[in-house]
């Protein structure tokens, strides 16, 4: 058996070991690789940074634990930025398993910047129905959320005094791993003409690039890299920057595996061992 055939037949558990090590080692021994802030993240940062003190920012964190590795550090970084700028934050989630992540994220960000619940921020909790809630917020916040996550009536929360719809909100930020982003663009940005910044997972970020050109989105933070860029812009060293070393190494390992696989295939074809029709990715059918 040739070396190429042996290489292509390698036990997948060996690949798993490489990926496991590639993830664990940089997390345990961070090297802090360089990060460049891209224009999309800079635009998101500037949109928040230029808001006047006391402006109200509605942040809808529409994700669950499966994507928390990318979106939780993003939420914390963006909320810390808002708190540093003395902006008033109104947090909510449209996912039933969201409050368990959003509530601690708000608490962590507020404690880090010395802010107080109900005075500097409020967490409204979960509400079902993407479009219904988004349109409903255009009519009446109190109709959608009579009480906040802690069962406090909205009228007795100082940070919400005088706030009852998008009209009193200066910026909407959506951090999501789903099509919730489409609806925020349709309703908050387009119908109610609100400034909108999006934070999305890396895999879906490119879908929203067209909305940046149309100015329906004023900034886009994509995936863990986007979150790491945001942290760098804020001069923080959070979970996203820590995770980028691991993500970098795993990407390199996968790229090397792909190149090795193709070199082996080429060697087999030259020696008359390989062949067969191509599948959807060029691999065997």
């Amino acid at each position: 058996m040739s070396w190429a055939r042996r290489l292509l037949g390698v036990d997948r558990r060996i690949i798993f070991i490489f990926i496991g090590l590639g993830t664990a080692v940089p997390l345990l021994l961070p090297v802090n690789l360089p990060i460049t802030v891209t224009p999309r993240v800079e635009a998101a940062y500037q949109t928040i940074d230029t808001l006047p003190e006391g402006s109200r920012v509605l942040i809808s964190m529409d994700y669950e634990p499966d994507t928390m590795a990318e979106l939780q550090p993003m939420s914390i970084a963006i909320m810390r930025h808002c708190f540093r700028k003395n902006l008033k934050v109104i947090g909510m989630t449209l996912y039933p398993a969201g409050p368990g992540l959003v509530e601690p994220a708000m608490r962590i960000a507020a404690e880090a910047e010395g802010k107080t619940r109900n005075v500097d921020y409020v967490f409204l909790g979960y509400k079902s129905g993407f479009q219904t809630v988004m349109i409903g917020l255009g009519e009446s916040l109190r109709q959608q959320y009579p009480v906040d996550f802690y069962r406090t009536p909205l009228d007795s929360i100082p940070v919400l005094r005088g706030v009852d719809s998008y009209a009193q909100i200066d910026l909407v930020v959506n951090l999501t791993a789903s099509s919730a982003a489409d609806y925020w663009i349709q309703f908050a940005a387009t119908r109610y003409r609100k400034k909108l910044v999006l934070g999305a997972t890396a895999v879906m970020a490119t879908d929203y690039y067209p909305y940046l050109s149309s100015r329906q989105l004023l900034g886009l933070v994509g995936g863990m890299k986007g979150a790491a860029e945001y942290e760098k812009r804020m001069d923080l060293f959070g979970d996203a920057r820590r995770g980028m070393d691991a993500q970098s190494l795993v990407h390199v390992i996968i790229a090397i595996l792909v190149i090795l696989g193709n070199v082996a295939l080429l060697a087999m074809q030259r020696s008359g061992e390989g062949g067969g029709p191509a599948g959807p990715l060029g691999g065997p059918r």
């Binding site: 390698v10 690949i15 798993f16 990926i19 496991g20 993830t23 690789l33 360089p34 460049t36 891209t38 224009p39 634990p65 499966d66 928390m68 590795a69 039933p96 398993a97 368990g100 992540l101 601690p104 509400k127 079902s128 129905g129 479009q131 219904t132 809630v133 349109i135 409903g136 009519e139 109709q143 959608q144 802690y150 490119t206 879908d207 690039y209 067209p210 050109s213 890299k225 790491a228 070393d245 993500q247 970098s248 795993v250 990407h251 390199v252 996968i254 790229a255 595996l257 792909v258 190149i259 696989g261 193709n262 295939l265 029709p277 191509a278 599948g279 990715l281 060029g282 691999g283 065997p284």
Partner: protein, 206 residues
């Protein structure tokens, strides 16, 4: 036979489209009322989903279908977590909060993290430059994988700018075309449903 639901769909669909374009206060009051109804319908969908989940797993347990103990765990979890949530709430310090933080969140994250292992193995076995299209895909993927992470910049400072160009020019052109196509398709499907041409949501295609 399905005239009633079709007429309701038409009336609600047409009304919502009209209300979208009428800024008058009275129209928006009606709009808000319809939204309240929609919220109630969503709540019922959640109950319906829970009943459906219960029935599916109860059938598995009753008939001792392979893997039925897992169904038993699902049913017990559904009852326990729902019951605790109703009695205690879900805030910090409650049992539901502890279950969520120590079981649900780590399990869901782990399931998603496993993707990295399978993607690496699949990429090694299936990503082959056997024809022009596959080669283009492969080269772009490798460049993006390296260029979009910190190590790319470490290897060549021009990498981030190059990948940004790939995303902003060829990628954006394709994405914009797809977005316009999807938008037109959504409008077409919406009109077909409102006008009663598309009735598959009623449980049959005719």
């Amino acid at each position: 036979m399905y005239l009633g639901p079709v007429l309701v769909t038409f009336a609600v669909g047409a009304a919502l489209i009209a209300l979208f374009f009428i800024p008058h206060h009275q129209a928006q009051v009606v709009n808000a009322e319809i939204l309240e109804w929609a919220t109630v319908v969503y709540a019922f969908a959640l109950i319906l989903g829970s009943i459906s989940l219960w029935n599916t797993h109860a059938r598995k347990v009753r008939n001792r279908i392979e893997g039925w103990p897992f169904s038993l765990v699902t049913m017990a979890t559904l009852v326990t977590v729902t019951g605790l949530g109703v009695v205690q709430g879900t805030g910090e310090g409650t049992v539901v909060y502890a279950i969520y933080q120590s079981v649900n969140a780590p399990l869901a994250s782990t399931m998603f993290a496993l993707l990295a292992f399978f993607i690496a193995s699949a990429a090694f076995r299936a990503f082959r430059a056997r024809n022009l299209e596959a080669t283009l895909l492969l080269v772009t993927a490798v460049l993006m994988m390296i260029g979009r992470v910190s190590i790319g910049e470490f290897l060549w400072p021009g990498f981030p700018a190059f990948t940004e160009w790939l995303l902003d020019v060829p990628n954006l052109a394709a994405k914009r075309a797809i977005a316009i196509g999807v938008g037109l398709g959504a409008v077409s499907t919406g009109l077909k449903i409102i006008l009663g041409i598309e009735r598959s949501y009623l449980g049959r295609s005719n």
